[in-house]
Symmetry: C2
Subunit: 314 residues, 2 copies
């Protein structure tokens, strides 16, 4: 059996193992005995933050942090801390995106969204609290003993999450829906869709891959390789998402499908067509795999991750 097959066999196991560890760690980081005083614990806020951050998801972003960090033999506990920070950012963004003023979604992973399970004000604050907690976690000495590494992680996470990254991408997405032009859908060119998605979903996935390199105090060549990998993986993730919206089954995907097409949203499928989008997806998986060449067979699990992202059914 080749090493790649070994990696394939163990891939799901490793993905699940990170998901389990992240769930445990986030549960510990959001333990309400950590609140300052008995007197006036904002328990409702803690409950809402736990609702948003716990209970599922593939935990793909932490997985990328853990597996890229493993290339440099860094302690798994540190990578899990950085992964938990990143997951807090991802989860906060879901809670805010689901709000009535944004995408107005009632369900997420088959459970009521935060503003449905609680209320709008609490959902907004839970998101704010998780975004803040992300930087708290990242700056803790447990994440890395070298403060220069912690500062670098904080800065890169902020860049990935902010105006030039995820939040900016979400704004562009709302604008593309014609939200600020009386519902007049914007015709996006392929380059615009690529840019929008690189910001909205790509930036955090890419950060996940770079975080491992930062934790491992990798060489410039190694960083560049992982950045190339993360960039290809991020775009592949989004194309796969767009394909699922067109071809997927709502029950399997866990959310409504056909929604993007219904709002006339510029997606990779709408601007490239189905066949070209699939071809681009395959090319990106190859690109991701090739980027990992410097790491040899130790990166086999990451290669499998690229394939998994492209071929996932949910």
């Amino acid at each position: 059996m080749s090493e790649l097959n070994d990696a394939g066999a163990s891939f799901r196991q490793r993905l699940d193992s990170v998901a389990t560890d992240i769930e445990t760690l986030l549960g510990r980081l959001l333990d309400d005995t950590l609140l300052p005083e008995e007197l006036a614990r904002p328990r409702r806020l803690m409950d809402a933050m736990r609702h948003v951050a716990l209970g599922g998801g593939k935990r793909l972003r932490p997985f990328l942090v853990v597996e890229t960090a493993a290339l440099f033999d860094g302690p798994r506990a540190r990578a899990l801390m950085a992964g938990a920070a990143l997951e807090c950012v991802h989860c906060y963004s879901l809670a805010h995106d689901d709000l009535p003023a944004m995408d107005n979604d009632d369900l997420r992973r088959g459970r009521p969204t935060a503003h449905k399970a609680f209320d709008e004000a609490t959902a907004i604050l839970a998101g704010d609290g998780l975004l803040t907690l992300a930087f708290d976690i990242m700056a803790r000495p447990e994440t890395h003993p070298n403060p220069a590494v912690r500062s670098e992680l904080v800065l890169a996470l902020a860049r990935g999450a902010g105006l030039g990254g995820m939040v900016g991408g979400q704004m562009l997405d709302l604008a593309a829906e014609g939200r600020f032009d009386g519902g007049k859908i914007k015709k996006l060119a392929a380059a615009d869709v690529k840019q929008l998605q690189a910001m909205k979903t790509g930036a955090l996935l890419r950060f996940g891959c770079l975080a491992g390199a930062m934790l491992g105090e990798a060489s410039t060549t190694q960083r560049t390789a992982l950045d190339r990998y993360g960039s290809a993986l991020g775009e592949a993730f989004q194309i796969a998402d767009d394909l699922l919206d067109v071809e997927g089954d709502a029950a399997t995907v866990g959310k409504a499908t056909g929604k993007d097409a219904a709002v006339g949203k510029g997606t990779f499928v709408s601007v490239l067509g189905l066949d070209q989008a699939k071809a681009r997806l395959n090319a990106l998986v190859s690109e991701a795999e090739q980027a990992l060449a410097p790491f040899g067979s130790s990166a086999d699990v990451l290669k499998m991750a690229a394939r998994f992202v492209a071929e996932r059914k949910a």
Copy 2:
């Protein structure tokens, strides 16, 4: 003329000078040429972030950072960076608190709030963007060349802004209004009001004072002194705010007064009574001044700041 009088004479000037410098710096940090690419700049988001962060306010929090840092002769440019980061957190919290789902305010400093000037989705994202930018700014090498200091600042800011600080305090405040009990106002004890306010407004003011000590790599004694000062100043700030709500004039205060009493909110005035609240305010100013004793006359401006906070009319 005593040195204290000199400080008094120059206090307003120094406060205004920090406000001017922070306005300039935030304008530079929110310059849209910084956005990643021409192709798809989320200009609306940048405009909203500028609307929220620029154009006024006393900039008291950055002032505290700059003046506490000055005790240790640190470069003003670094303190301004840390102060700008803190101000981003303060401004984001205003934008989110003003949202329809929260306090539903249309005006802030005499201008339309973010969701009025733009829309709800944009206001939420602008807040998210500013909170994220705060950590971006704090983690930059320009803020301090020592990454251990930057990490410490990030961690302390996150603690002040998060679940155990500002966001948690806002949640307690909404709960106290009876928001989650069908409008049934909670009767708060004086200790509850103190705890709530120490979290909601105190934590960031206190952080501002500690930030100067962190930037100056102060001794433990010096830190403890500035933390005591910040804690007293934070409570004084809130009592003064509650007094303004009762006794202030809406035109001078720049927002509706009598609002807290109208919703039956537990304030220092409502739990202590007017006379006791004023007595407590005076005691806190003395406490703040005494905490600064180790710094001698070099802390005169900070002493004036405590008096200013207590006696302000807006």
